[in-house]
């Protein structure tokens, strides 16, 4: 950010490109796409292929954005894995079981996410307990609450809800019969988060907090409010995915959602965010999410054993982190050619 405005001159420089955080993720994406395009053929490169991986990318991508921001600021959020089923349960319960208007269900579901995020943020900022532990504890508690209340109020672990056409159109529709409308929502989230991280001053605050929390506070940054806000953003995003799932599949389940925990972290890391905080970009996270989704879905088009996909993702992750490590030291130690 700062380096870009300081150097001013838009001179093309290999060093400058190599030290951008998203370079590695872009190379990874290109290699992975080519690999599966060769194996999967025209079906993978056509609309069925694109819709299949974009649908997956949209769901995990919406969550990966705030999780990435949190990781840039040096924190973790494991609880997203329990917010997804909790919010979809809340939405289905309000609108399906109690037959309240869809808007109430949506607001309730999103409210659950915001509340859980607020609790996370509050505990993280008021105590010295690492956020990994705080959000694991909150995850367990929310899982128990979701299951307990579902069985108590509904007597079953799943609730069905048939949304009205308008709600379905905005949150659960398949465009052209294939592309889930969440893809558009994902694009919207990307735009908002891009603005927040790379244009607004909040973005600089997030980077500063990830670099050194103490100095950031001394520089006058409201670190507590930013941290709580970020946790609320990740709760909101996970809740949004949960609500959209109800509208798409017309059912909410207490289980499920666990996969989002590690999947979102993997997208973020493949996207070049350093786990230790202080570095990363929205474009990188989007590229990482796409790479993850292409491997995840491409494997079916390539007629390979689906389990090979896990091996590829593991290898990709290792390559990504090791090369990010290199890129980052390159970036930090980089001095422009001329003094």
């Amino acid at each position: 950010m700062t380096t870009r405005s300081e150097t001013g001159s838009k001179r093309f420089s290999l060093g400058q490109i190599a030290r951008r955080p998203e370079t590695g993720s872009f190379i990874g994406l290109a290699i992975v796409y080519t690999f599966f395009a060769v194996l999967g053929g025209p079906v993978f490169m056509g609309a069925p292929g694109w819709s299949s991986w974009l649908n997956i990318a949209a769901e995990v991508g919406i969550i990966a954005l705030p999780v990435g921001l949190l990781m840039i600021s040096g924190e973790f959020d494991i609880s997203v894995g329990s917010v997804v089923p909790a919010s979809s349960m809340m939405a289905a319960m309000l609108s399906g079981h109690y037959e309240l208007p869809a808007l109430v269900g949506i607001a309730g579901g999103l409210g659950v996410g915001l509340l859980i995020g607020f609790v996370n943020g509050l505990i993280v900022t008021r105590t010295s307990i690492p956020s990994l532990i705080v959000t694991i504890g909150v995850m367990f508690a929310v899982m128990g609450l979701t299951l307990g209340f579902a069985v108590l109020l509904k007597g079953s672990t799943s609730v069905s809800y048939v949304p009205d056409p308008v709600t379905k159109y905005f949150l659960g529709q398949f465009m052209g019969g294939m592309f889930n409308v969440s893809i558009l929502w994902w694009a919207g989230f990307v735009a908002v988060f891009f603005y927040v991280l790379h244009v607004s001053p909040i973005g600089n605050w997030v980077f500063a907090i990830g670099g050194d929390r103490e100095s950031a506070r001394n520089a006058g940054i409201p670190t507590r409010r930013v941290t709580i806000g970020l946790f609320m953003a990740s709760g909101f995003a996970a809740a949004f995915v949960g609500v959209a799932q109800v509208m798409t599949y017309q059912q909410a389940n207490v289980a499920g959602g666990q996969a989002f925990i590690f999947n979102s972290i993997m997208c973020v890391v493949i996207g070049g965010v350093l786990l230790t905080g202080g570095a990363g970009s929205i474009i990188g996270i989007v590229l990482g999410t796409m790479t993850f989704a292409i491997v995840n879905q491409g494997i079916f088009f390539a007629a390979l054993d689906p389990n090979i996909g896990s091996i590829i993702i593991g290898a990709l992750l290792l390559t990504a982190v090791v090369s990010n490590d290199k890129f980052h030291s390159l970036a930090v130690s980089f001095a422009a050619k001329k003094k």
């Binding site: 494991i78 505990i123 105590t127 010295s128 307990i129 690492p130 990994l132 532990i133 705080v134 694991i136 504890g137 909150v138 995850m139 367990f140 508690a141 929310v142 899982m143 128990g144 609450l145 299951l147 307990g148 069985v151 108590l152 666990q258 590690f262 972290i265 993997m266 890391v269 786990l275 230790t276 054993d305 389990n307 090979i308 996909g309 896990s310 091996i311 590829i312 993702i313 593991g314 290898a315 992750l317 290792l318 982190v321 090791v322 990010n324 490590d325």
Partner: protein, 330 residues
């Protein structure tokens, strides 16, 4: 008074209090018959399953690192044993050596990556977790054509690793858990290696400057966590006469929670083996003991979550107490 203060400063204090708290809660408010609970095997078996892995994971966390690949290593150990000794019908010894070998190998990979790069170990082991899951599943499909492999083990292997004891349903892994706990207690609290582990968790750079072989110790600890997870998987394959590729994912969080409830500081430098032992016991009593109470078992996770946060908060305060404590008299 001094005794109480001394107890509270120990890393195991919060886990002991959690255990007592859970027992009181279950016994007094939830109508659990504690006598019946004491005789039941379900929670002890479960405690042993997570406890054997929790102890080395605790050591690793004391040294400031974390290992989540254990979630893939439990099924990996089970599958390796079953494929070698069940599917290929090689002698049991090869199955056991194979399972432990896989553990050593993955531990080496984790450890070497941890010391050679600056990548946080959470991410390194997340990568090996995902990769090992794929390798175990794909390997099993490739070699045996199925995701579940039967295993018939000879009598001695059954006796050592997969028996039920006391004529009831207590598994022999409970004994192994106690052996592991005593061995690791001795290493951590009575040998210089234990001091090294604490020193590494306190400040890696200073530890290295003090002449501690930090890299070798880190690799060794990763080998221990992966191998003990593979060991648990192997015992289960021998006990249940078969191995499935699934399972093990929940164990990741369960084991980390046990360790943290056991008073280990995630950032390193603080913790104890007795604490982790009690932590695993407490976790198992909450999860499995709830069946003996009037509480619907669906609420078990809520109790775990609250207990974790309370225990950690207590630990924080006790640790401050320990760090600020100066003896009463000058």
């Amino acid at each position: 008074m001094d005794m109480i203060a001394g107890f509270l400063r120990r890393p195991a204090a919060a886990s002991m209090l959690s255990l007592v708290g859970v027992l009181v809660f279950y016994g007094a408010f939830a109508g659990a018959d504690l006598g019946q609970l004491a005789n039941a095997a379900s929670w002890l078996n479960y405690a042993a399953r997570i406890g054997i892995v929790a102890i080395p994971v605790g050591l690793l966390m004391i040294s400031g690192e974390i290992d989540i690949s254990i979630g893939a290593m439990i099924p990996a150990g089970a599958m390796t044993t079953a494929i070698i000794s069940g599917y290929y019908e090689l002698p049991m010894v090869f199955g056991i050596v194979g399972a432990l070998g896989i553990g050593v190998l993955v531990g080496l990979v984790n450890g070497i990556l941890a010391v050679r790069t600056n990548v946080p170990t959470l991410i390194i082991t997340l990568a090996t977790l995902v990769a090992m899951q794929g390798i175990v599943l794909a390997g099993s499909k490739l070699l045996t054509g199925s995701a579940s492999v039967p295993l018939k083990s000879p009598g001695w292997a059954k006796t050592m690793f997969g028996n039920l004891m006391f004529g009831g349903s207590h598994q022999v892994v409970i004994i192994w858990w106690v052996i592991f706990a005593v061995a690791f207690w001795f290493v951590l609290h009575r040998t210089k290696y234990g001091n090294w582990v604490f020193a590494m968790g306190g400040d890696k750079e200073s530890a290295r400057n003090a002449g501690i072989p930090v890299n070798r110790m880190t690799i060794l600890l990763f080998v221990l966590t992966a191998t003990s997870a593979a060991f648990v998987g192997m015992c289960h394959a021998i006990l249940f006469n078969s191995a499935q590729v699934s399972g093990g994912m929940n164990d990741i969080f369960n084991i980390i929670v046990s360790v943290v409830v056991g008073g280990v500081l995630l950032t390193g430098g603080f913790g104890s083996v007795p604490g982790v032992f009690v932590g695993a016991l407490t976790f198992a009593i909450v999860i499995k003991g709830i069946d003996f109470t009037d509480i619907n078992r669906n609420w078990a996770n809520l109790i775990i979550g609250i207990m974790l946060l309370l225990a950690v908060a207590l630990n924080e305060n006790f640790r401050k107490l320990a760090l600020n404590y100066a003896g009463k008299k000058k």
